[in-house]
Amino acid sequence: MFLKTLAIASLTVRSAVRSRLLICLLVILFVVTLGIPLSVRGDGTALSEVKILLLYTLGTGSVILGLATLWASCSAVSHEVEHKQIRTVVVKPVGPYLLWFGKWIGIVILDAVLLLLMGLLTYALLFMSLRSAGSEPEDLGTINSQVLTARRLFLPKEVDLSSEVHRTVDELKRTGQMPEDVSEEETMQLIYRRLRARRTTVAPGASLSWEFDTQGLNTSRGSLFLRYRIGSSIGGSRQITGTWRVDAGKNGDSFNTGPIPMADGRHLIEIPASTISPGGNVTVRFENAAKGSSRTVIFHGDNHLELLAPAGGFLLNMVRSLLVVFCYLVVLAALGVTAGILFSFPVATFAAFSLSSIVLIVGFFAFSSSLTVCDHHDHDHGGGKASVMERVGETMLEGLEMALSPVRGIAPLGRLADGVYVPLWTVVRAVLILGVVCPGILGLLGGYCMSRRELAAN
């Protein structure tokens, strides 16, 4: 069994090598790795150049590898069917499932080698460029603390607003103020949103607190960072002044920034490691300065406040990220081999490419659809009702998004470029879903179709 699998896999690898696919890919990846940092520009800072190098070089390389994987895997079987070599293989004691597995493993081995080479080249290039560019020590410090690291993200504990929502609804009912043209469920959602909005707005002179559970936090690796995103009641103004306080109770020192001026946008403040001891609760508090010296502050987005704690080294984080990328390639290989069994090469390539594109862009469309849905729900402005077709489209997108959510949503390169820790669990999840379950399903389908297909019909 092992020998047969190995034979088919090595045949696939040899085919790629002899057909010069491998050498072409190596050249392309080399050019991309060297060329992207030269052709893609960041926002002008050394930090953004490093981020671009990581995100765009590895991202483009991964996309190219993904396309090549689809192409090679689609041709793995369909090409042999077309050129009739498959006939001398399937009359040997090789079952359809074994044949599928062998072809898949061959492509996976190729991907592993190419991805490893790309990773090594990018890593070498990264450190060479940092050494040779003569970057400012300050920039290097920023790069080290914000990109060449692996920081774990801690989000504030969710505040349970359900009881308050129910209390408010009861109060509205009691006073006969429940709106008649809106269902109770919608009213509750509106109240929930309003209460949540209160949790993200701080008027001048007021303050707001968040609690973090620091279970699993490691303070031995250096300073922590608090990252927050704010906007003021008057856009573009810099007349916000506030104080951040971090308090871990008896478990650590308390820390405060003192009043600091800040603008709209994303900010980072360093917190001494001694402030926090792992395992307990940490309270973070923002105190807005009094009226006159500050304005109402709005904390933007779901991730408006994050506690970042160094959790590991960059190299291992990069390895974990590339492992997740590898899992994506593995599932693409499985998709391609199965498509190659079902269809002729051009059709298989088209089908596999279309399917992968749908998976990729469904997030974009779901995102834009959510914007449209918001517009439709805007009763006050008479935004107009969505047409039946739009509704059907939205429902389909939502269904697709839900079905694909286990496969999507693991974006390791973004995290890597952001210096954010890629948890082991993410890798395990990717391996399980992308590396085992999806290829398993595709393999079963491919093997079954192979057993049903007439391979000498042409």
Binding site: L47, G236, S237
Partner: protein
């Protein structure tokens, strides 16, 4: 059965072709209205030709996907890719001026204000300027709107004081021009068109020495370290590519730029930064700029209002600096243009009734700041 199916297929094919032919005309019209005609560009940039010809209809789709990514990243306050994404999106739709304008404006206005640090703000303002100046205009060299958009960025975002970091913007621009010119403007007599300075100006600011000379002759001499001068330069180029009413945005930028240049067109280097003072010799040329605009646009009401506003402030500033004759002459022009009981009462009463410290434009305060001991702001 087969025969019938074949007939059906033939009819369906002919029907589809007829439908496509019918749709084609309206699609072509829509396309030419929206996209314009690339053949109008004398020498389109290679990238423009590439994306237009090679990618065909797919470029719109790719641009949409990139735009959604840019929106998402901006929403998440992750800005480091935005400059590159904006460049790609605009180059995918290279002949759509609005897209260039939107992305330049987005970087210069929306993204820049998200930065706490003044230097970071300037970088993003400059990213917007560079997108239009270095990429947008070469892709649409005959479209007057894009010149005006760039002029607006210089005049409004860098030149005005809306942004708390505006002095940093001005300083950065002045420093970079100073590094090349080593003064307020080039010595045209000593320069050749192909000199190193000419090449450097073209490389760093896309400025053409011959056009600069023409502008200085018409409106100046101006201080090229100031954003207003750059605004006038680009509006001047836009104006040359427009006719009739389409010249209005360019003319607005020019007369407003001239007015600012008169009030604050002298750059004075001081310890701890720069300060600006009025550039008196420009006064007749400001009049010319306004009068030209009025003549070109049939005494447009808004231009008249702007001219009156300028004259009122000019009278007060000239008077505050002790330039009695110029103040009187300007007052006479004001009276001639917009006679009122206020102007009929004479210059002295006019100055007495209009407290200069209460004059609304922010630049007046700055002008007064450069007059220590004369008038305290």
């Amino acid at each position: 059965m087969n025969k019938r199916a074949n007939i059906f297929l033939v009819v369906a094919t002919v029907g589809c072709l007829a439908l496509a032919a019918f749709q084609n005309r309206s699609l072509s019209e829509t396309r030419s209205n929206r996209v314009g005609d690339l053949t109008g560009i004398a020498n389109p940039a290679p990238i423009v030709t590439f994306v237009t010809v090679v990618l065909g209809g797919f470029r719109g789709l790719i641009a949409d996907v990139l735009w959604l990514r840019a929106t998402r990243l901006q929403d998440e306050a992750r800005f480091f890719e935005l400059a590159q994404l904006a460049e790609w999106i605009t180059q995918l739709e290279p002949s759509c001026t609005q897209i260039w304008a939107y992305h330049a404006w987005n970087m210069s206005y929306n993204v820049s204000v998200m930065m706490s640090d003044d230097e970071d703000r300037w970088r993003w303002v400059n990213n917007g300027v560079r997108l239009l100046r270095d990429k947008g205009i070469p892709a649409n060299p005959e479209d007057p709107r894009i010149y005006c958009e760039l002029g607006w960025l210089y005049q409004h975002k860098i030149g005005k004081d809306m942004d708390p970091a505006h002095m940093t913007f001005k300083m950065k621009l002045a420093e970079s021009v100073q590094a090349l010119l080593n003064g307020e403007g080039p010595d045209y007599a000593a320069l050749e068109v192909n000199s190193k300075l000419a090449r450097d100006l073209a490389r760093d600011f896309s400025l053409d020495l011959r056009v600069m000379q023409r502008i200085d002759r018409t409106y100046g001499p101006l201080d090229w370290r100031l954003p207003e001068t750059h605004a006038i330069y680009w509006a001047y180029l836009g104006k040359r590519r427009a006719n009739g009413e389409k010249q209005l945005p360019a003319n607005r930028i020019i007369y407003q730029g001239m007015a600012y240049s008169f009030f604050l067109g002298d750059l004075i280097s001081q310890e701890g930064g720069l300060s600006r003072a009025p550039r008196w010799p420009l006064l007749p040329k400001v009049h010319t700029a306004f009068k030209d605009a009025l003549a070109a646009h049939d005494d447009d009401e808004n231009i008249t209002e702007a001219y009156v506003g300028f004259l009122r402030n000019a009278v007060l500033v000239l008077h505050a600096y002790g330039k009695e004759d110029e103040s009187k002459a300007t007052f006479d022009t004001l009276h001639e243009l917009a006679p009122s009981t206020e102007t009929q009462a004479g210059l002295e009463l006019f100055v007495g009734n209009n407290n200069i410290r209460m004059a609304s434009p922010g630049y007046v305060r700055e002008i007064l700041a450069s007059l220590p001991g004369k008038v305290s702001p």
